[in-house]
């Protein structure tokens, strides 16, 4: 059970070579940008093809370089939440979620959409377009859409990077709840140390296309395996801001308060 990934991929002078397995846990891929985290998710989802290796989800073979197995993304049965969420702008919230329920009979589809709307607190928004709802609501729609088919695993590519700090906290605890409810492997890519530390059952530390350490957040933080890991898991304020790999990617925009008009 769980998700096994053992792949290599060469892209324009960058080489990814990783090998990890997680059970029904919430695993965080953590590392500086350009270390191959998003690429790993794309290989798992079938959006890119590994050069060699083997990917299994719940024991089902998704890719095997030697056997020539390479399921298209449609048949991998994985939930994928893109960094920009990729909600269909021409569909309502309900239609977006329903789009994820391909191949289900009408009754079951309606039932599941209803359940998703409830679990993800989307009541009253069903007929709104993505452009008409808030950032946090969009996140929930994207995750609901990815989960409605009950996928073998959920892959999240920095889904909270565009949110402000309070909303990120809210979404983190929400994701914990969702993970408990669906009991599937959840793989989350993030740059945010707080996010990694508070969410992860397992931290998978990426550095230049390799895994430098794998363990619980406590293990990794207390006993970093390499100087790179040590640098990555130090509280941010202690770190030289000039170190490019540690610059937080998502800069939280300052809140602009609306000026009250007189008269």
């Amino acid at each position: 059970m769980g998700l096994s990934v053992e792949v290599t991929k060469q892209v324009n002078g960058f080489r990814l070579e990783v090998d990890w397995h997680v059970g029904n846990e919430l695993a965080v891929l953590f590392g500086p940008s350009g270390s191959g985290k998003t690429l790993t998710l794309q290989l798992i989802a079938g959006l890119m093809q590994p050069d060699s290796g083997c990917i299994r989800a719940n024991g089902r073979l998704l890719f095997d370089g030697r056997e020539g197995v390479n399921l298209p993304p449609q048949r991998r049965h994985l939930g994928y939440v893109f960094q920009d969420l990729a909600l269909f702008p021409h569909m309502t919230v309900r239609q977006n979620i329903a789009y994820g329920a391909a191949g289900l009979r009408r009754n079951e589809k309606d039932q599941r959409i209803g359940a998703m709307v409830e679990i993800f607190h989307l009541e009253g928004l069903e007929h709104k377009r993505p452009a008409e709802i808030s950032g946090g609501q969009k996140q929930r729609v994207a995750i609901a859409r990815a989960l409605i088919r009950q996928p073998a695993a959920l892959l999240l590519d920095e889904p909270f990077s565009a949110l402000d700090a309070p909303l990120r906290r809210e979404m983190r605890s929400f994701l914990k709840k969702i993970h408990a409810e669906f009991a599937i492997p959840v793989i989350l890519v993030t740059h945010d140390l707080m996010e990694a530390a508070t969410l992860a059952d397992v931290l998978i530390m990426y550095h230049e296309g390799n895994i430098v350490q794998l363990g619980t957040p406590a293990e990794v933080m207390d006993h970093p395996a390499t100087p790179e890991v040590a640098a990555l898991v130090q509280p941010r304020e202690l770190i030289d801001p000039a170190m490019p790999s540690l610059t937080p990617q998502a800069v939280v925009p300052p809140r602009v308060l609306p000026l009250r008009r007189r008269g």
């Binding site: 920009d84 391909a102 088919r149």
Partner: protein
Amino acid sequence: MVDNATWYSLKLSLQVAGIATLLVLLSGIWVAYALARKDFWGKELLDIVLTLPLVMPPTVTGYYLVIIFGRNGVVGKMIYHWTGWTIMFTWQAAVLASFVVAFPLLLKTARAAMEAVDLNLIQASYTLGHSEWETAIRVVFPLARKGILAGAVLTFARAMGEFGATLMLAGNIPGKTDTMPLAIYTLAAGGEWSQANFMVLFFTGISGLFLYLANRFSQRML
């Protein structure tokens, strides 16, 4: 004031342009999709060949069409052999001429609009279990619809105004193949200004309206 022949030309023009636009739409969106989203050998060559009628003199396009579809043409000969029918000097020939000449207008705008569709949305559709075919119909085409509509409007306007290739392929037979541009030519050549005036004004008005519509569709794309 407006005589029967003028009404006939107007009706024929609308019929020819309407059918040509429908055919361009039905075939053009798939070609545009292939050019926008697929990689295959000769892709840019195909684009160039299909776009050539936009820049070549219509008489040159008409010449090629006669060579291909004429009674002794490459394809026309076979059609004549099997059916005893030739497209030459029929209203269907006017549709064919309009189709070929107006096709690139849809192709260009639809291809650009489809290329502008966010790749993440297409990939999201794949990860949600939808085939490429379903994704094209439910995601790519709806999101490119304004470009497709703008292209269709321009196609219709161009098809309405087709003259050169139509003349070579369909001739200028009164009451049979004389679409409005051909009728205007005949009337002006014969000095019948009042009927020509009506058609010229009608054309100017309708062309302006189409350009306005095309602009509105393409503006709303942004």
